[in-house]
Amino acid sequence: MIAMNDEHDRLRSLIAPYALGALPEDEIRFVRAHILECEDCMADADAYFEAATSLSTAVEEVPVPAGFADRVLDLARGSAQGPASAPRRRTWRSVPALAIGALAVTALLLAGMVIDTRRALDRSENAFAAILIGEELRGEDAVGRLASTGEGSTLVIAGLPEAAEGRSYQLWFLRGDDAPVSAGVFDVSADPTVIDIDLRFEGYSGAAVSIEPEDGSTEPTGAIVLSNA
C-alpha cells in the first residue's frame, strides 16, 4: 500500500510539468495513463491545463511582415486544393518501379525498425500504431509506415538519409485521379524517425514522399523516395 501511495505521489508531482509540456517524453504515457484512472489527478490536470493555456495569451503582438498573408494563402492553395497540372500528375503514376526490386531489403529494414523503435520511441503510441497497423511505404533503401492517429497522421521512416542542403522531403496523399495533396514538408533527423502530420491519411488510397525544394512545392516535382504504390 505504501509503495502504491509513493507511486501515486510521484505521478501526481508530474502533472504540472505535463500540463506545461515540460515532461520528458519517456514519462508522458505513464502520467497520461494515471490521470485517466485517478479522479484526484484528473482534477489537478484540469486545473493546471486551464492555467497553462492562459499563458498563451501573455504574449506581445509583433508586426506581421508585409506579404505574410499572401504567402500563407499561396501555401494553402497548394496544399488544400492541389495542382491541376496533368503532366506533373503523371509523374506519380511512375512511382512503383522504384520499390519493386527492394522488397528483401525493406523487409529487413522494417524488422529492425520495429525492434529499434520499440526501444527508442517507447513514448509514442502513435508511432507504434503506425508501425503495427500502418500502410507500408517502400523505397529503394528505405521503408515507412503511415497511419491516421488522432486528428492527424503519423509516419515512421527507416533508412532515409537527411535531405540535401536546400532540399526537404514532402509527403503527398493520393486518391484516384485527384491531384496529390501535400501533407507537409519534413526532414529526417534520426533513423528511424517519426513524423507528425496534421492531415489524416484516412480516406486516401495512396501516399508518397518526394524530394522537393526546402519550402516544399505545390505539386510533386522531384524524385520519389517512398511510395505505397
Binding site: 502533472i15 506545461l20 493555456t53 506581445e60 505574410f68 501555401l75 496544399s79 492531415l199
Partner: protein, 183 residues
C-alpha cells in the same frame, strides 16, 4: 467560450473562403508570430512557424473546438507547440535562460495600448512569486523539461516540480479571483 466572430471565421474556413483566412491572419497574425518569436531564437524560423500555424488551421479548421477556448488561444497554443518541437530538435534555436527571463521582466512592465487579455495575464504572472515564475517561463516559453529547469536554475528536480505546480496553482487562483471580481 468562443465569440461569435470566431465561429463565423471558422465556418468560413470550412467553406474554403480565403478571405476568412485573411481575416484570421489580420486578427491573430501578430500574436501568433509573437509567440513563435518568444520561443525561438531565430526570427526567420518564427515566421515559418506562424505560417505553418495558419496553414494547419486552413487544412483542418475542425481541429479548433470552440467549447475549449478562443480561436486566439488555440492558434497561439498551436504556434507554441510547433516552436517547441523545433527547439527540441535543434539546439541552436533555443533561447537562453537570460533571454527568456529578460522577456519576462519586460512583459510585467506597465501595460501598453490595447490587448486587454494580455495585460490581465501579465498582471497574473506578476502575482506569482519570482522563483515560480522563472520556472514556468523556462518550461512554457523555453521548452525546457522539468529536469532541464532544475539544471538551469541549479535546484533539485523535486524543487523544480514543486515550483511549477505551485506556480500554476497560484496562477489559477489569480485567474479565479479575477473572474470573481468581474461578476
Amino acid at each position: 467560450m468562443s465569440s461569435s466572430v470566431d465561429l463565423d471565421l471558422v465556418e468560413g474556413l470550412l467553406a474554403r473562403d480565403e478571405d476568412r483566412l485573411r481575416e484570421v491572419i489580420a486578427l491573430y497574425g501578430g500574436v501568433v508570430l509573437g509567440m513563435a518569436r518568444r520561443v525561438l531564437a531565430e526570427g526567420g524560423m518564427a515566421e515559418e512557424v506562424a505560417q505553418d500555424t495558419f496553414l494547419a488551421l486552413w487544412r483542418r479548421p475542425g481541429a479548433f473546438n470552440p467549447e475549449r477556448g478562443t480561436l486566439k488561444s488555440f492558434l497561439v497554443t498551436v504556434a507554441r507547440n510547433k516552436a517547441i518541437d523545433l527547439v527540441r530538435k535543434q539546439e541552436s534555436l533555443r533561447r537562453t535562460k537570460d533571454q527568456l527571463l529578460a522577456d519576462l521582466r519586460t512583459s510585467v512592465q506597465p501595460p501598453g495600448a490595447g490587448l486587454e487579455n494580455t495585460e490581465e495575464l501579465k498582471g497574473s504572472l506578476k502575482q506569482i512569486p519570482a522563483q515560480q515564475r522563472e520556472a514556468i517561463v523556462l518550461a512554457y516559453f523555453g521548452g525546457r523539461t522539468y529536469r532541464e529547469v532544475a539544471e538551469e536554475l541549479g535546484i533539485p528536480e523535486g524543487t523544480a516540480k514543486t515550483r511549477l505546480r505551485d506556480g500554476l496553482r497560484r496562477l489559477k487562483e489569480v485567474m479565479t479571483s479575477g473572474d470573481d471580481r468581474d461578476e
